[in-house]
């Protein structure tokens, strides 16, 4: 069964005066999906979210929500609710009044509404906070109130604009887990804006990576991480090492490449997900796909040699910057610290194991 997408964006353009903020956005967002918009500051994530919410008119293109055209439909008539970046908690109302704000025209009795408010507060872990003044809340509590206030209306789509960016690291990580649980529980489509790639990877079913008003790649987190379509996307999501490469032929779904410092190898054409740009080819690989071999350890696949230039100790992990023989710039290798395995010193010579299956080709 193919389900109709909850949100369809077709060639959406948005101009602010002369500034082209959205440059042809195309995306289908499935019902019940946790979808993230990820990109650097100023790339148009908030603009796209506000376009869906109905706060911005688009210049051209189509926005459809639940198979309905949204042109001319104001924000208060759309089946979406938003958790604002600043939370936008009404300061003159109590927590319960904030949460119940959208229920005014709900035909239920006041007692039933009060019950719904109490349930919504309980769902976000704020049981008993109803009578508090809204300004007497911490950042994390405000965020929960904003969430409860939106969820109580049972929207088809919940829009979240960097809801966690104001929280400290620990609270942010807790809230990430809670948001995921909540989304599974209520089954509402979530669209999350974030510029934190880790947050996007942890939380999303699918991620759209945006640069300068365009979606550069739209994939699930694993594909996005393992097979980025461009060096830009690769660089934005985690760390990626790049080595110059030359292509020596392509046959039967295999590409033969000569990689500086690693040598000649065959990779599958699935490892070249991006379009051919015609520029110089390069090979990318994540820090954890290389392994530093200790004395006497044999490589499972291929190996090369290098010299440790920098050691950064992280507790559970150690990052090494290793200069591979024959390569000018060092590559980053991350190793899990396990007992009985000493952390290497700077300047040490080492063998490095690698595998052609973990490489990504950009061409």
């Amino acid at each position: 069964m193919t389900q109709r997408p909850m949100i369809e964006l077709k060639d959406v353009h948005k101009y602010y005066g002369d500034y082209h903020a959205l440059r042809g956005i195309n995306a289908d967002i499935k019902a019940g999906e946790f979808f993230s918009l990820l990109g650097p500051s100023g790339c148009g994530k908030t603009t796209l979210l506000r376009t869906i919410a109905g706060f911005e008119d688009i210049t051209s293109g189509v926005v459809m929500i639940d198979a309905k055209h949204m042109e001319g439909v104001p924000a208060n008539k759309r089946p979406t609710n938003m958790v604002f970046q600043s939370y936008a908690i009404f300061p003159h109302l109590t927590v319960a009044q904030n949460v119940g704000f959208g229920l005014r025209r709900d035909p239920r009795s006041q007692a039933e509404k009060d019950k719904a408010v109490a349930e919504a507060l309980e769902m976000v872990g704020l049981k008993g906070f109803g009578a508090r003044a809204a300004h007497a809340l911490s950042g994390g509590q405000r965020q929960r109130v904003a969430l409860a206030r939106a969820l109580i209306l049972k929207p088809k789509v919940l829009l979240l604009d960097e809801p966690l960016s104001a929280l400290d690291k620990k609270l942010r990580e807790n809230m990430q887990v809670e948001l995921i649980k909540l989304q599974r529980q209520v089954g509402i489509t979530f669209i999350l804006v974030t510029h934190d790639q880790e947050e996007a990877l942890v939380m999303s079913d699918r991620i759209a990576v945006m640069f300068e008003g365009e979606i550069a790649q739209l994939d699930d987190p694993e594909t996005l991480y393992r097979l980025p379509k461009s060096r830009k996307v690769a660089d934005f999501i985690g760390h990626m090492n790049f080595l110059p490469a030359a292509i020596h032929g392509e046959a039967n779904g295999e590409i033969e490449v000569e990689v500086l410092g690693l040598g000649r190898c065959h990779i599958s054409d699935k490892q070249a997900p991006g379009a051919v740009s015609g520029g110089e080819a390069s090979i990318g690989f994540r820090p954890e796909t290389l392994t530093i071999l200790y004395e006497g350890q044999a490589a499972t696949d291929r190996e090369t040699t290098g010299k440790v230039e920098e050691v950064v100790y992280y507790g559970d992990m150690t990052y090494y910057d290793v200069k591979l023989d024959g390569v000018a710039d060092p590559v980053r290798i991350s190793m899990r610290n396990v007992p009985g395995r000493p952390v290497l010193e700077r300047g040490a010579s080492t063998r490095v194991a690698w595998s052609a299956s973990a490489l990504v080709l950009f061409r």
Partner: protein, 317 residues
């Protein structure tokens, strides 16, 4: 000089610096506000002498309640000159006080109701870089003297004024309208115009402070623009509205120029009586008692109003 001396430590403390900073202002306020006020309160409990500005320094309550007397000094002994009623016992003052409160109420209502849309427009619809220009334009009426503005309204609303002669020459009316010149309405119009900027500014400031995402949140939660205004904008603008009400209401009760000029002395308000008692009739104790009573009444009305709106004033934005 020993900098660690007690004096040295005192003069370097932040509290001392704070007091030093406000002391000229504090002194000024004390001399020009508290001292005259104390004098007026003192006078209101004294007796009236028939001599010019003569006061008999003898405590009594009859300037407020009951029957009172003015005294003549003959050969060093006091003799009763004439009797009068205290401020709260004379129905005239009660009537005037009520009229004054009514006029002030109408002026406040008119001013705030008209000022709100202007403040709203400047805050929400004027581009940020043009706002100061607009505020500047709003203060233009202050460039001319208050008296000139009052006279201008007389010219506009008077018996042979602009409005009447205009309507007459157009044949819309056959006789000059009298209800627009010598009456309460004309006084209200004039005062409302004079106090408009005082009302616009505090409302503007409180509108400026409203986080615009709150209005988007209102609409996002399903409310129309009008309901969002009613449920979000207005409650959050209330501190400004309360400020505007007080700024307009309190001084208008004390205004005596406008009723004099516009009303032509035919519609005195409480302040006109105070002025008359103090100067023309030269009964300073009674004038003071009326003034103190008016002050107390205005203070209580203002206090009750603030109290009624305290839930809006507590809001931290």
């Amino acid at each position: 000089m020993n900098l660690n001396s007690r004096w040295g430590r005192l003069t370097r403390s932040p509290a001392f610096n704070g007091y030093a900073l406000i002391s000229p202002t504090a002194l000024y306020a004390l001399l020009l506000l508290a001292a005259p006020l104390a004098t007026v309160i003192y006078l209101s409990f004294m007796g009236d002498g028939t001599g010019v500005h003569q006061v008999i320094h003898q405590f009594q309550l009859c300037n407020y309640v009951g029957d009172c007397n003015s005294y003549r000094t003959t050969d060093g002994t006091l003799a009763v000159a004439e009797g009068y009623k205290g401020a709260w016992s004379d129905p005239l003052y009660q009537a005037l006080m009520l009229r004054s409160l009514g006029v002030s109420f109408l002026v406040t209502l008119a001013t705030v109701v008209l000022a709100f849309p202007v403040a709203y427009f400047v805050s929400f619809f004027v581009a940020p870089n043009k706002k100061s220009l607009w505020l500047f334009l709003i203060t233009i009426p202050f460039w001319t003297s208050y008296l000139v503005r009052v006279f201008l309204w007389k010219v506009i609303l008077g018996y042979n004024g602009v409005v009447n002669s205009g309507l007459l020459s157009l044949g819309i009316i056959s006789e000059p309208l009298t209800w627009i010149n010598v009456n309460i309405g004309a006084i209200v119009v004039t005062l409302a115009h004079a106090y408009a900027p005082f009302a616009i500014l505090p409302i503007f400031v409180s509108l400026e402070k409203i986080d615009r995402s709150l209005l988007e949140a209102g609409s996002d939660l399903g409310e129309s623009a009008l309901m969002t205004f009613w449920r979000v904008t207005l409650p959050l603008a209330m501190p400004g509205v309360v400020g505007a009400v007080l700024i307009v209401f309190i001084p208008t009760v004390g205004d005596y120029v406008t009723p004099d000029i516009i009303g032509g002395g035919k519609l005195p308000l409480i302040a006109n009586v105070i002025q008359k008692q103090m100067l023309a009739i030269d009964n300073m104790p009674l004038g003071s008692a009326v003034a103190v009573s008016a002050m107390l009444i205005v203070g209580s009305v203002a206090g009750l109003f603030v109290l009624a709106n305290r839930r809006f004033l507590k809001v931290k934005k």
